[in-house]
Symmetry: C2
Subunit: 283 residues, 2 copies
């Protein structure tokens, strides 16, 4: 990565990290200062684990997992290790999301509130189920050594798109959740009277949107990709790649064209072109 490009990356990463961390502080202050605090007692304080764990796990950790390959000071680590970190963060996010859902069901059941009636709950549950599927398929495809490279290649566009789509959906679901909770829990003054809590939690919503926007920006910049993709490309290209640091890797994760990921660390050397019909732009 060229120095200017690296500085640009650092700025965006820093703002994203700040937005994410401030979101966590905001959600904690929301439940601890404005609401009933945290407990596991079937009451509102148990419900409060729901937004806290969703922001920490399903938003912050999932966002971190998405861009973990982009961080330059991990590039000397093996790709396999980074895959484990990627999968581990996503697994942790999934576990926290499930615990977070249990908190709501417990609270609802104790308070005799129906479950699963709102659009928030419908899209949210769909996202958790699809996220679990994505996790299982991701591990099966990219961490099982026996999975054929052709399968890895064929599945990669769906893995990348699915990951970004689920991350985006989870933020949209969080915005619906914030909307519901402020309407239900604020009375005298109500949400529409804009008490301090309403403003504070609206700002939390904006922070989540900013965090999501920056993670999606980082994830879709080709020139910020882990350079191994680029190396494989150079290896298999007849002509020299001029100023390849500037051009960046040729293969976008957000495309039909599979990238180096599809061959994995172990297979990189033996990865045949035949297994990757779409890999090269010019060969």
């Amino acid at each position: 990565m060229a120095m200017e490009n690296f500085k640009h990356f650092l700025v965006v990463l820093s703002v994203a990290a700040a937005a994410g961390l401030v979101s966590i502080i905001f959600v904690l202050r929301w439940v601890l200062h404005f609401r009933e605090g945290l407990a596991w007692d079937g009451g509102p304080a148990e419900f409060n684990w729901h937004p806290v764990l969703m922001v920490i796990g399903f938003i912050f950790l999932q966002g971190t997992a998405i861009i973990v390959y982009r961080i330059p000071w991990t590039w000397h680590r093996s790709k396999l290790m980074m895959k484990f970190i990627h999968a581990g963060l996503n697994l942790l996010a999934f576990i926290l999301a499930v615990i977070s859902m249990v908190a709501v069901f417990d609270f609802h059941n104790a308070a005799k509130i129906p479950n699963m009636y709102s659009l928030h709950s419908w899209v949210g549950l769909a996202a958790v189920i699809l996220y679990g599927l994505q996790l299982v398929l991701g591990v099966g495809m990219y961490l099982m050594p026996f999975t054929p490279a052709s399968w890895r290649a064929a599945f990669m566009p769906l893995h990348v798109y699915g990951g970004l789509f689920l991350f985006t959906s989870v933020i949209a679901v969080a915005l619906m959740g914030i909307t519901e909770k402020l309407i239900f829990s604020l009375s005298d003054p109500k949400y529409k009277d804009s008490p301090p809590e309403a403003i504070f939690v609206n700002v939390l919503g904006l922070l989540l949107v900013v965090f999501g926007a920056l993670i999606l920006w980082i994830a879709t910049r080709k020139s910020w990709k882990r350079p191994s993709e680029q190396i494989l490309h150079t290896l298999h290209t007849d002509g020299g790649v001029e100023d390849s640091s500037k051009v960046g890797p040729a293969l976008s994760q957000l495309s039909d064209v599979p990238n180096e990921e599809t061959c994995g660390d172990v297979r990189k050397r033996s990865c045949k072109l035949d297994d990757q019909p779409n890999l090269l732009v010019n060969n």
Copy 2:
């Protein structure tokens, strides 16, 4: 586009169009059958223009504008004409969004409900303002003949990302709006009692998510891009591009690498490589 690829595109496009059109039918049935109908009288029937115009304009037309370059039976048309259609659809979507907002302000003012207190209104207004900015910048960059090709190239990643981000945000805002409206307008039975209207409008929310997901999928598939990008690439590449219909264009819109768009129709022939330092993977 190869035949199999074309069939795949047609299937996805058809499902997207169906989801979009059924969404419009759903929002019309919501306000006409379950709610107070449509009028411009300061009452609830004026409010009802808000969801109707948002779904038709800001979601369906914006989504159509995003993928209009991808439709193969427009590829014999000039790129400039397609740009006018793209800009025209976005302008229409913007106008409908503004009218739709006026309907809500009118309704709020007549009913003495405060404006701009909810997260829905904050993110929604931000989206409309940024959409207007995107429109002005888009016209200035890509429809003004005097705009330098280097500016067009430099701005393209932001134009593409901004467009997809705003489209996604608008759907998220719509989901918040549905949540608000169902909570506020349903009483005895309430939203949590899942009356038919609640289920019906939740399904509308799901349809909007499906429509959004498919538009984003279509927009981010490289091999579904308008082939002119590919032709320019072939022109400037020393080696032959083998099976380029399979590989698809080398340059993703969702990347740092500017594509043919940056040169426009008029400039295509005279477009210098010097103006596009990042254009070629191998030259």
